[in-house]
């Protein structure tokens, strides 16, 4: 005897100052901010503390919209309600210019050319579509 059930629930996570301001930067300024953090350098996206030694995070630093792919994973068969694209795409880690850590995001075009070391640029959602989420960056696009 079996039964399929979908456990579905809308959670609301409060963001606090650091994460909240970073997201506001995406939404209102179309800017990606990092924080200069002890033992980590410029962390993007910032958490407000050093994940290495637990100390409280430091000054805000704007980083570029462009960066270098440090890891990529091509999804050939996306999973509904989980993956951000119904068609093949790639997860990427991108070290943005000016940052010392890499941001996790997606690339949706040019998958055959995508590799570790590729140069990419953030592709923003429109002013109306940006809500204050990491997905206000629609995706990253390969730059030639």
């Amino acid at each position: 005897m079996f039964q399929d059930v979908v456990m579905e629930f809308p959670y609301k996570h409060s963001t606090g100052t650091t994460i909240g301001r970073f997201l506001a930067g995406l939404k209102e300024q179309k800017r990606i901010w990092g924080q200069r953090v002890p033992k980590q350098g410029v962390v993007v996206p910032p958490l407000g503390y050093s994940e290495i030694d637990g100390s409280e995070g430091g000054e805000w630093v704007a980083v570029e919209n462009t960066g270098t792919v440090t890891a990529c994973a091509r999804v050939h068969t996306p999973i509904d309600h989980l993956h951000p694209s119904p068609t093949p795409f790639a997860f990427v880690l991108v070290k943005l210019d000016g940052a010392d850590t890499a941001l996790a995001h997606v690339v949706t075009d040019g998958l055959d050319r995508l590799r570790v070391g590729s140069r990419v640029v953030a592709d923003w959602r429109s002013d109306e579509e940006r809500v204050g989420s990491i997905r206000d960056i629609a995706c990253f696009r390969l730059v030639d």
């Binding site: 079996f2 059930v5 456990m7 996570h13 963001t15 994460i19 997201l23 980590q40 962390v43 996206p45 958490l47 994940e51 290495i52 440090t70 890891a71 990529c72 994973a73 091509r74 999804v75 050939h76 999973i79 309600h81 989980l82 993956h83 951000p84 997860f91 990427v92 880690l93 991108v94 070290k95 850590t101 890499a102 941001l103 996790a104 995001h105 997606v106 590799r115 570790v116 070391g117 989420s133 990491i134 997905r135």
Partner: protein, 373 residues
């Protein structure tokens, strides 16, 4: 390191790992395993001083999934108890810590989890930090694929190398009747398998499977009475790393390296090369290579033997996989490994892990001899 209590693994029971047990709930699967483990050591339930269980609510698909495990673990009268939301290897660690206090001498360590009821790729997406990472939709196969791509780029490891590594595990796993996957597969076949998430192929990731396990642990004095060949804990250590995927070197396992250093020092063993076999909780061939590197082992060497059980590529019941590594090391060192026994094995490393991209690791050094006089 000061003198510690000698503690041994004296029994291990599990159900053969299957894709889906259609007849039993998770806790119903655990009951016969606890009975079997106690039978192995010839103990009644009342002979066991302490119990630890390991499971996770989100894989159980319900809150408090572990509460029902109390009934099948024989928790009557009330037992000294703890439940960890962690892989069984870490639960065994806590039991070892508890035995070190001298308050208890014996313990059972139980794991349960019905992996087929949930969908791990979705469930463990929720394990990622919820503000930036989980919303992107990364699951454990995706993070392992990111890790693999970075590793291949750094080291020049090829698809063919991964296939060869996976094929070795598959060949080793053929004789293990507890494995879910028991057919060998050539490197060529595995390299022809479809992408799971590129650069990982379906042949490089474990199938979804489920089981229940029970380890029995006992301190010196009791251990010898419960088991003809106790397997002694000579050293153990575990370490967590920060989670953020882009803030750590995914191509190396710093936590494993540190845990191994500490565990080997505790065991007074100079190097991981001095053990006869290692059982690794590596869910991809890339993780296996990363772990071997962290342990200071040459991936091309023939000793120590790596994953003689077939490893997690042949059976990966989430929450139990680490316990199985310990159970396999116990079987090897106590002469219970049958055809897959490593001849003359006297010392083993059993590794456990959880989290995305080997975030949290534990390293056990086990041996046929007691560590402390």
């Amino acid at each position: 390191m000061s003198t510690l209590r000698n503690v041994a693994f004296v029994g291990f029971a599990q159900l053969p790992v299957v894709a889906r047990d259609e007849h039993r709930m998770a806790t119903e699967m655990l009951y016969p395993v606890v009975v079997d483990a106690l039978r192995q050591v010839g103990a009644s339930r009342d002979d066991i001083d302490y119990q630890v269980s390991a499971s996770t609510d989100y894989m159980d698909g319900r809150p408090f999934g572990f509460v029902a495990a109390l009934d099948v673990m024989g928790s009557w009268p009330a037992r000294q108890d703890l439940h960890l939301e962690m892989d069984g290897s870490f639960a065994a660690y806590y039991a070892w810590v508890k035995i070190q206090t001298g308050e208890v001498d014996t313990a059972i360590v139980c794991t349960h989890g019905k992996t087929s009821e949930g969908e791990p790729e979705r469930v463990f997406n929720l394990q990622l930090e919820p503000y930036y990472h989980a919303p992107i939709g990364i699951g454990p196969t995706a993070s392992a694929a990111l890790q693999a791509s970075a590793y291949m780029a750094r080291t020049g490891t090829t698809d063919a190398d991964l296939a060869a590594r996976a094929a070795r595990n598959r060949a080793a796993g053929v004789g293990n009747s507890d494995n879910q996957v028991r057919d060998a597969a050539s490197a060529q076949q595995l390299q022809g398998s479809p992408w799971a998430i590129e650069p990982l192929r379906s042949g490089y990731v474990p199938p979804i499977g489920e089981t229940a396990t029970c380890l029995v642990m006992a301190a010196e004095g009791k251990a010898e009475k419960l088991c003809d060949r106790p397997v002694w804990i000579q050293g153990v250590d575990h370490r967590a790393e920060l989670q953020t995927l882009g803030s750590r070197d995914l191509t190396r396992s710093a936590g494993t390296a540190l845990a191994a250093k500490k565990a080997l020092a505790m065991a007074n063993v100079g190097s991981a090369r001095d053990v006869d076999l290692v059982e690794l909780l590596s869910v991809t061939p890339v993780e296996e290579l990363i772990l071997l590197d962290a342990l200071g082992l040459d991936a091309a060497a023939s000793t120590p033997v790596v994953n003689p059980s077939g490893g997690p590529l042949c059976a990966h019941p989430i929450m139990s996989t680490g316990s199985i590594r310990l159970g396999e090391a116990f079987r090897q060192l106590s002469g219970r490994a049958g055809d897959r026994g490593v001849a003359g094995a006297k010392r083993a490393i059993a590794h456990g892990a959880q989290g995305h991209c080997l975030q949290q690791n534990i390293v056990w050094v086990l041996g046929t001899e007691k560590r402390w006089a």
